[in-house]
């Protein structure tokens, strides 16, 4: 296919879209709406994910202390903890307290502990986090220093939360895939039908083109371009709308589920690019489907 034809194809595609603007606007509108729903879902997902990821580690942390720790060292550890941004010491659990709690937890079987000659449990600080920096806290220098402070035996994060969140996020992701898949199918259907209508409205013209020696590709390419353009426009418009909606919500300091979302961010660039690629592909594949079975002369 001669490269000289591309300006002609592009002109045809745009001209056709302008002529069939009603159908195209309707198709484009539906496409934008579908992609917007999907994009909004992604946006919520991404924010929920980072938000939870921030909390899951930081909800609580236990700093276990060496057995022979001196009071001075213990105070040093406490001040180190306070230096971590957002950290707050909930309470100090002495060795005796720890044993007492274990005894309570064991209940009737607490007799097992009677045989112990020494208390094997370490003393610890229970630490909770608060504030917007929770995610950064984990990698902060203060945290690294704390782990190396003399008298600190181990720093442990509560894993139980993480597992629960992971399960939740897996569910959300699954639902996202299903919604996304269905919406993609919908968009494909819309594009294919829009292009099919465009082809149908130009049936006579196609016949004449074929009669003067046009190859199938010569006739098809403008329609494929129409689908491509629709995909690009659909992707771009839905992302733009999503971004505007995001700006509106972000400035209003949206409250979601009564938790303030402190860092409501827009989709990361990979997601934006992926969404664009998907919409372009949908446009192309949709028009391929429409064009594929039409030609029989």
């Amino acid at each position: 296919m001669s490269p000289r034809l591309w300006p002609y194809f592009l002109k045809q595609a745009i001209w056709n879209m302008i002529k069939n603007r009603g159908v195209h606007a309707l198709g484009l509108g539906t496409m934008v709406a579908s992609l917007l729903i999907f994009g909004a879902f992604l946006l919520l997902f991404v924010n929920l994910d980072t938000w939870l990821r921030g909390w899951e580690h930081a909800l609580s942390m236990t700093v276990y202390l060496d057995d022979g720790i001196s009071n001075a060292q213990r105070n040093k550890v406490a001040s180190m903890i306070k230096r971590i941004p957002g950290a707050r010491i909930k309470r100090f659990i002495s060795k005796a307290d720890a044993l007492e709690e274990l005894r309570d937890a064991l209940g009737p079987q607490s007799g097992l502990l009677d045989g112990l000659s020494t208390n094997p449990l370490p003393a610890s600080f229970e630490v909770v986090f608060k504030g917007p920096e929770v995610a950064k806290t984990l990698s902060s220098q203060a945290m690294e220093k704390l782990k190396k402070t003399p008298g600190v035996e181990e720093v442990q994060f509560t894993r139980e939360w993480q597992q629960r969140f992971d399960a939740l996020m897996r569910m959300v992701r699954l639902v996202g895939f299903i919604i996304g898949g269905l919406l993609c199918l919908g968009v494909l259907f819309i594009v294919a039908n829009t292009i099919k209508l465009a082809i149908y409205s130009r049936k006579d013209e196609i016949e004449i083109l074929k009669l003067v020696g046009a190859t199938d590709w010569f006739v098809k390419v403008p329609f494929l371009l129409e689908g491509l353009i629709q995909g690009i426009l659909g992707g771009a418009l839905s992302l733009l709308t999503l971004f505007l909606a995001y700006l509106l919500l972000a400035t209003k300091k949206m409250q979601l589920l009564s938790f303030p979302i402190l860092n409501f961010t827009f989709l990361p660039s990979e997601y934006v690019i992926a969404l664009l690629i998907v919409s372009v592909l949908l446009g192309l594949v949709g028009s391929f489907i429409a064009v594929g079975r039409f030609f029989e002369l």
Binding site: M1, S2, R4, L5, Y8, E205, E207, I208, L209, K210, L211, V212, G213, A214, T215, D216, F218, L297
Partner: protein
């Protein structure tokens, strides 16, 4: 060269062509004539590959139309000019665009397309109307646009279906002169017509069709 062997064509119960055997040599000028409904248009459309025969074989320059791929048929059509009885012009394109379309599909150079299109329009006397749309033209003018589109690509074969049906005697003569000159350059020309006047003054080979059969030749 055009060869037809035992060609049959039916539209439902209606038999349009019945056992047609015909050979048109390269560079020949042939008239096909006969009453309305005889099968003239159908015959030309079969040669053009716009219609498939129900039986028989059609060879164009030795190429069997029923054996070649669609793409090769498309390419073959670029060498065949067809003047349709109903013109088949694109109403949403100008006269100029309608004529240039025949070259546009081949991906020729812009400047070349423009030059050839002007030439063809000049030959049919429509240069001043190049910006008009088909529906703004008279029947005769539309017919001449169709002729210009058929000849613009310098076809090896020119198939003209009732090309002077809408023309006055003066223009009819002009167009026939045009066809002659195209024929002189080596193009094989087949003209279908029921016009006796058109045939009267010529000593050309003429094939008579009636009810789908060849009933005579002179």
């Amino acid at each position: 060269m055009i060869q037809l062997f035992h060609i049959y064509k039916n539209f439902g119960a209606n038999i349009a062509l019945n056992d047609i055997n015909l050979r048109v040599h390269e560079g020949e000028f042939v008239f096909v004539t006969g009453p309305s409904g005889a099968g003239k248009t159908t015959l030309l459309r079969l040669i053009f590959g716009a219609e498939r025969p129900a039986g028989g074989h059609i060879l164009i320059n030795g190429i069997n139309l029923s054996r070649i791929s669609r793409t090769r048929l498309d390419l073959l059509r670029r060498k065949i000019g067809f003047v349709f009885q109903d013109f088949k012009l694109l109403t949403n394109r100008t006269v100029f665009q309608n004529v240039s379309l025949a070259l546009e599909v081949t991906g020729e150079r812009r400047s070349f397309i423009r030059k050839k299109t002007r030439q063809a329009l000049k030959l049919v006397g429509l240069v001043e109307k190049e910006k008009a749309f088909p529906l703004q033209l008279s029947g005769g003018e539309q017919q001449r646009v169709a002729i210009a589109r058929a000849i613009v690509k310098d076809p090896l074969i020119l198939l003209a279906d009732e090309p002077t049906g809408n023309l006055d005697p003066e223009l009819t003569k002009d167009i026939m002169v045009l066809f002659r000159s195209i024929h002189m350059k080596g193009t094989t020309v087949v003209v279908a017509t029921h016009s006796r006047e058109l045939l009267a003054g010529t000593a050309q080979r003429t094939v008579f069709l009636n009810r789908g059969r060849i009933v005579g030749e002179e």
